[in-house]
Amino acid sequence: MKFSVREILQHYKESFERGVLPYLRCTACNHSFYYPRDGCPKCGSVELALCESCGSGTIFSYTVIHRKGLPDSMYAMVELKEGFRMYTNLLETWSPRIGLEVRVTMRDTKFGKIPFFKANASEPPIRNDYSGGTKPSGID
């Protein structure tokens, strides 16, 4: 189906509110993508499907950001089971590594409800020198 950008963004907003991670799939070439456009960035088709992700994925890469006077935060790329990738901040992930399974978690921020990720298995905070990315700026 063809969707306007407005309709796509509405789907994203409603999904976030329901705690679900949205994405788009091109029904012509089957390419899955997260960053919303009204046409497939790969093949150009406007025949898209508004989808819901299972919310599970793995860390594709990550970095711990250190800043004077601020808690550490973790910036990452996550690859979802459906094949698309997105930027995010990792929360409560005490032993990050590439390939680690993570799961989406919606949080209220000054920008509204948006998706973050945290480690799938609950691991105890074993490192004292690292905050686990608990409080990226933007979370009120």
Binding site: Y62, T63, Y75, F111
Partner: protein
């Protein structure tokens, strides 16, 4: 603007060209680097107004750090086609104004309203990042994961570039450096340490491309390639390859004929990515190569022979002018204390954008 005027005057003096004969301008800008201003439209007119130049050829490039090399190429083309006789190429501005506001040029939207960095702001700028450092850190982390590249190998590159800088009287950082010192400098974005990251400074580079000869050596573009990858890095097949792989292929220059290399060095990992992408080694081989080669002016692979912008500072968040300056000094035998013997062919690669979208490959040498 004063800094700009001073640089241009000195450039014209060196080239022996009268200001009234300058009929072309190629330049670039980033928000916040011209006296702290963020929005400047008709930008080239601001520059020409201040300098008092009427042009018949203007090129405004938007490739960040890769712009400088594109300027030189396009100026050469304009002269060859008769569109201009003397093209002034300008790169620079102030890093300090933005820095004192606690952000980088990729984070100005955090302190100013109504600034867009991407069509996907609402899904990108809601997260805490420190781009470009954090995005390059993601690449460094993944490069280590895929190819077993170590922190020490990246530190070794910083140390070897510093050794080159120690012989460059224009370098800011000239004290001896050790791997231990690099690795014990504060982590900015894991795994990148403070001494693997360029320091933004204030300054301009001005190059005059002319159809006339000057007291400097006649040089020409021997090869050129440009590539622009529009994808967000997260949407690329992988993040460890840059558009330098494509721009260098497009330039298609045989590396064995090169006397020295100047590769964009915003971070240690940036140089390593280009070492692989331009074909000095296979993908993943840069860590080992950095350990093995001598990058000094007399070494087997003279690279970033002036110490690069890691040691010269990065004017206005773009290192393109720094690598181009070093290339031209090498070709003119003016690289005092760090001259590569018989530097006749210099290979330069520039990378631009927090997301490495832009790459330009430029090979300079004597006209054929």
């Amino acid at each position: 603007m004063e800094l700009l005027g001073e640089t241009v005057r000195s450039c014209l003096e060196d080239s022996g060209v009268d200001k009234k004969d300058v009929d072309g301008l190629a330049t670039t800008y980033l928000p916040g680097v011209f006296d702290g201003k963020t929005h400047l439209h008709f930008f080239t007119n601001h520059i020409l107004q201040y300098l008092g130049i009427r042009a018949r050829f203007i090129e405004l490039l938007d490739f960040g750090g890769a712009s400088a090399l594109a300027m030189l190429y396009r100026a050469t083309k304009a002269i060859r086609s008769g569109e201009a006789n003397n093209v002034l190429c300008l790169i620079g501005g102030k890093g300090s104004d933005v820095r004192t506001r606690g952000v980088t040029v990729d984070g100005l939207d955090r302190v100013e309203g109504g600034v867009s960095l991407s069509p996907f702001n609402h899904l990108l700028r809601v997260y805490d990042d420190m781009n470009p450092v954090s995005d390059y850190a993601l690449v460094a982390k993944r490069h280590s994961e895929l190819f077993k590249t170590t922190d020490v190998q990246r530190a070794t590159l910083a140390v070897k570039q510093r050794r080159n800088a120690m012989n460059n009287e224009n370098a800011i950082y000239r004290e001896p450096l050790t791997e231990e010192a690099v690795l014990s400098s504060p982590l900015v974005c894991d795994p990148l340490h403070m001494l693997e990251v360029v320091y933004p400074v204030d300054g301009f580079h001005a190059f005059l491309v002319s159809k006339n000869s000057s007291r400097m050596r006649d040089i020409d573009v021997l090869a050129y390639g440009e590539a622009h990858w529009s994808e967000l890095p997260v949407e690329l097949p992988d993040i460890v390859t840059t558009p330098a792989s494509e721009s260098s292929r497009r330039a298609g220059f045989e590396l064995s004929k090169v006397d020295c290399f100047q590769l964009y060095d915003s971070f240690t990992i940036t140089v390593m990515l280009q070492i692989e992408d331009i074909g000095l080694t296979k993908k993943g081989g840069a860590g080992k190569m950095v350990e093995d080669v001598d990058i000094s002016p007399s070494g087997d692979l003279p690279l970033n022979t002036g110490g690069g912008s890691l040691n010269m500072g990065q004017p206005a968040y773009m290192s393109g002018g720094v690598i181009l300056e070093e290339a031209i000094q090498q070709l003119n035998g003016e690289a005092k204390g760090r001259q590569v013997d018989g530097a006749n062919v210099v290979y330069i690669n520039g990378i631009g954008g927090w997301n490495r979208s832009h790459s330009t490959t430029l090979v300079l040498g004597e006209p054929k």
